[in-house]
């Protein structure tokens, strides 16, 4: 199992996405995301923020920031807090864990996370 698949399957385990959770969709090339940044993909009318961290680790969460009600998370700065990888919303700076979707400042808020992986240089997400 590659590192990418590990990250993706970790998400699967945490969110207990059932096997029939959804179909896999190709989104873009890995090169379309610069390292340590995010992009937003429109998949089945859903806005999904996909982040590429160092060593090509990928994460996918909702692009919608419930605290600001704006579709902006893909434009946030990624990093880690206490060892947990997070993205900071550019509007009011709430942090969301990339692995679980949980908001660090308000754990009653949890975003959807999505399985994501690279196949032949292309990024696929499961929605």
């Amino acid at each position: 199992m590659s590192q990418l698949q590990q990250a993706a399957s970790l998400d699967d385990a945490i969110n207990q996405i059932p096997d029939n959770a959804g179909a896999w969709h190709p989104v873009c090339a890995l090169e379309d995301i610069w390292p340590n940044m995010g992009v937003c993909a429109l998949v089945e009318d859903r806005q999904i923020a996909i982040f590429r961290l160092q060593d090509n680790l990928l994460y996918a969460i909702d692009n919608h920031d419930p605290h600001s009600d704006a579709n902006v998370l893909s434009r946030g700065i990624v990093g880690d807090l206490g060892g947990e990888r997070v993205v900071a919303s550019p509007i009011y700076k709430h942090h969301y864990q990339l692995r679980t979707g949980v908001c660090v400042e308000d754990d009653s808020v949890c975003l959807n996370t999505y399985a994501v992986e690279v196949r032949d240089g292309a990024i696929w997400v499961q929605v």
């Binding site: 873009c28 993909a41 434009r75 700065i77 880690d80």
Partner: protein
């Protein structure tokens, strides 16, 4: 108090007002406490800060000096009458009579009548252009007269006299000080100190004449007046200011038969009561144990005591005051502690004199050498806080007390005052009576910067002399509480922003990865990444969207626009100095219309366009660039605008070309990355239409050149900018601004505006002036060179962005679709677009997005 008590306070100066503040603190609802208070002020305005009166000459207004919070005197049970002069007290009837014959009854009377300037009885002292130095009206009259005068004399070489001399010198007058005693500041300073002080003052271009008794003032031959001295020598001058000491305003008390002190003043007991126990006297009009106090701190102390007693509390008493003073006269430190003259029986002293740098220091110790009794410091008063605390608290002296005042050699630490040795009751700020204990409590409550301590305890907010000591106490307390005195940027970097800046510059680090690898840990976060991006830009000024820099930028910098609440962006082209051609305006109008943007003229004198979606930005900017515009950096922690008035080109009052300078400055500093945003203002005359004194950097034209103001702020916490240098040429002004900005960029914390940076700067404005203007750290040339590097490497970020296909690709809502974000929708208001509210979105009352993405 069950029965209504009528209190009349005569006098609304600093002490009278302080009394009211104390009373309101005790009884926030005066009416409910059965108090009916009338305050009578003789002057046309309520209480103002007389201690800082001289700042009126450097640009402070009467409003700046006011001590009264808006609405303070508008509460139930309280009435303030201005222009009200009391002519008589009838103690038997318990009434007072005003000069307009109004009669007021009182149960308790508080006299806070202050003092009046003493004018020696010299023939001709009532001539025109002879002034005293006490009220704002006096200062206004002096300013008016100064405009047509060439020379000025201050009679009196005491503390106020020297301040006044500074004011005259700053007005550009040939300034003289005439003193009756054989030395300056005879009360506070000994003979040797007076000598050093004199040569310091003379160095600054003020002529000093001591042992001079004026016998008459007559018409002059070359100037308005001739002052004739007892030995028939004379001095000619256009204006004269008397500042020969003060006398208590005790005439009401005398007329009504109250006991008077041996040297004048209303005699008071330990509760601040006069000989009539229904009448209190506080401040400069009062005499306790035949002592009068011309300082504000003892007056405040009396006010607190009187207020406590009036409220039925008899535990707090006035026990005299420490008359130690520290001040800066014309940039010269002068301090006097305790028994400065060594009058104590059998005391001994240590003295240190440096006639090259004009520094004089003396300490007076007890016969057994165990206690410090007093000190005099001229030219450098760094040890004031230590010496004063040692004296007041009778602390044990170190073995070799002379090292307390000798300059440190070989890098050895001086035997400072371990602040831990001070008792909690030790008063750190005597103006506002703040104890060491109170500062400790403020720290424990989470106030861990000097700015926060000032706001919370008021320590250091009056004369400011105690700020270094308060800072030491704060830090010591933080260590004690186990709070790391930790200014680490975040969990990834165990450094302050200032240290990180240094590491980047010295290590020639150019990427975040390199910085993290060498000095940090983890992956970084939304705190350290933009900070590093800003530091890298301040040092090297590379294109901020380069592949290895792009991921560090805040969304605003990353998309070169300010993100709005709905995720859309603003578009703000630069208009240097607020100047724009009709064609430019037309182009902006056409572009805004084409992309359906909301437009607004901003306070920074340019046009903002709102409502652009990410994918529209490059197209919009391509058109703006074609029309001759460039990025306005409204999104960056960087120079925003240089606001200007129209200046001498058009304005009939203008003294210099403010627009020209504003354009030059804006073009010089555009794109400069800093710890926070920076705003400038340039006014073409002292009418100050550009509001330059509310900006980080402000310039005001005068007939002698440009006056440079720094560290002002509007916004959340307005702060007046302070004059740091006067009469500069354009070239000098630019060099000083180069240094100022680079010093700020080097040393400020993240997101610290210049105003808070300045408030937290140890040493305050004097230190800043020393570094920037006098180049005391020898950094001047280096700072200027660094700024020049940034200026030389400027590029219009938008131009680079739209011309780079890789970068341009980043500007889209979706990586896999050309659609726009359907959450960004608008409704119409006042003929323009605005973001739809959540409710409106639900009701689908929105205007469809125009298909403008080509």
């Amino acid at each position: 108090m069950n029965q209504l008590t009528r209190v009349v306070v005569v006098g609304n100066g600093m002490v009278g007002h302080y009394f009211m503040q104390e009373l309101v603190k005790r009884h926030p609802d005066l009416a409910a406490a059965n108090l009916q208070v009338t305050v009578l002020g003789e002057e046309p305005r309520p209480a103002y800060d007389r201690v800082h009166l001289s700042s009126f000459f450097s640009g402070s207004t009467a409003e700046d000096l006011s001590l009264v919070e808006p609405g303070f005197y508008d509460r139930p049970g309280l009435e303030l009458r201005l222009n009200a002069r009391v002519s008589q007290i009838d103690r038997h009837q318990h009434t007072i009579t005003l000069s307009d014959n109004t009669v007021l009854s009182y149960d308790k009377l508080v006299l806070a009548t202050g003092s009046f300037p003493f004018v020696p009885s010299v023939a001709g002292r009532d001539r025109e252009n002879c002034f005293v130095y006490r009220t704002i009206e006096d200062l206004e009259a002096m300013t008016a007269a100064g405009k047509s005068a060439k020379s000025g004399v201050v009679v009196g070489g005491g503390l106020l006299g020297l301040e006044c001399a500074k004011a005259l010198r700053d007005m550009g007058l040939d300034t003289h000080v005439v003193e009756f005693a054989p030395r300056l500041m005879a009360v506070q300073v000994d003979e040797a100190g007076g000598k050093v002080l004199r040569s310091k003052i003379e160095e600054l271009g003020v002529h000093v004449h001591t042992s001079r008794n004026t016998t008459a003032i007559v018409d002059g031959a070359t100037a308005r007046h001739r002052m004739v001295f007892f030995d028939e020598t004379w001095l000619e001058t256009d204006m004269i200011v008397f500042s020969a000491g003060i006398r208590p305003r005790d005439e009401l008390a005398r007329d009504s038969g109250l006991a008077i002190g041996a040297r004048g003043g209303i005699a008071i007991d330990d509760f601040s009561r006069s000989s009539d126990h229904d009448i209190y006297a506080i401040g400069e009009c009062a005499s306790w144990n035949d002592e009068m106090y011309g300082l504000v701190a003892p007056g405040y102390d009396m006010a607190r005591t009187a207020c406590a007693h009036l409220s039925g509390e008899t535990t707090s008493t006035f026990q005299g005051a420490d008359m130690s003073t520290k001040l800066k006269l014309m940039g010269v430190d002068v301090a006097s502690v305790g028994d400065a003259h060594g009058k104590t029986h059998d005391c001994r002293s240590y003295q240190y004199t440096d006639e090259v740098r004009n520094i004089y220091k003396k300490i007076v110790v007890s016969e057994d050498g165990k206690k410090l009794l007093g000190a005099v410091l001229i030219g450098n008063a760094d040890e004031y806080g230590t010496l004063q605390q040692m004296t007041i608290n009778e602390m044990a002296l170190p073995e070799n007390p002379e090292f307390l005042i000798l300059p440190a050699s070989d890098g050895k630490e001086k035997p400072g005052l371990g602040v831990d040795a001070l008792p909690d009751s030790a008063v750190m700020c005597s103006c506002n009576n703040v104890s060491k204990g109170a500062i400790g409590e403020a720290v424990a409550a989470g106030n861990c910067s000097i700015g926060a301590i000032k706001a919370c305890t008021k320590a250091g907010t009056a004369c400011g002399g105690c700020v270094p000591l308060v800072t030491q106490v704060m830090k010591a307390q933080m260590v004690k509480l186990g709070m790391t005195v930790n200014n680490h940027l975040c969990e990834h970097f165990p450094y302050s922003r200032q240290e990180l800046y240094h590491l980047v510059r010295v290590g020639e680090i150019r990427t975040f990865a390199d910085l993290l690898h060498k000095h940090g840990k983890g992956l970084g976060c939304d705190i350290c990444k933009p900070t590093a991006a800003s530091i890298l830009a301040s040092c090297w000024n590379d294109f901020i969207l380069k592949k290895d820099l792009a991921s560090l930028q805040d969304s605003n910098d990353y998309f070169l626009g300010n993100i709005q609440k709905d995720g859309s962006y603003s578009v703000v082209p630069r208009m240097p100095g607020g100047e724009v051609t009709p064609d430019g305006l037309i182009a902006i109008g056409q572009i805004a219309k084409k992309y359906n943007l909301y437009t607004k003229v901003t306070g920074g004198a340019r046009v903002d366009m709102f409502g652009a979606r990410v994918e529209q930005l490059p197209n919009i900017w391509e058109e703006l660039i074609a029309a001759g515009f460039e990025s306005g950096h409204a999104y960056g922690k960087s120079l925003r605008t240089v606001k200007s008035c129209v200046g001498s080109t058009w304005c009939r009052y203008g003294v210099d070309d403010s627009v020209g300078l504003a354009v030059q400055l804006e073009n010089r500093y555009k794109g400069l990355r800093a710890p926070h945003k920076i705003k400038f203002g340039v006014s073409g005359c002292t009418r100050e239409c550009a509001e330059a004194q509310g900006k980080d950097v402000g310039l005001i034209a005068t007939e002698n050149g440009w006056n440079l103001y720094v560290c002002g702020n509007g916004g959340m916490k307005p702060r007046h900018a302070e004059l740091i240098a006067s009469d500069l040429s354009k070239e000098e002004a630019i060099r000083m601004i180069d240094r100022f900005l680079m010093f700020y960029i080097r040393t400020a914390d993240r997101l610290q505006r210049t105003s808070t940076w300045r408030d937290n700067l140890e040493g305050g404005l004097d230190y800043l002036r020393d570094v920037v203007i006098n180049d005391s750290l020898g950094l001047g040339a280096e700072l200027e060179a660094q700024m020049q590097h940034v200026v030389d490497n400027y590029q219009d970020e938008w131009k680079t962005a739209v011309n780079d296909p890789e970068v341009r690709k980043r500007f889209r809502s979706f990586v896999n679709s050309v659609a726009g974000d359907n959450n960004i929708v608008f409704v119409k208001e006042r003929d323009q677009m605005r973001p739809a509210t959540v409710e409106e979105k639900k009701q689908a009352k929105v205007i469809p997005i125009l298909a403008t993405t080509e």
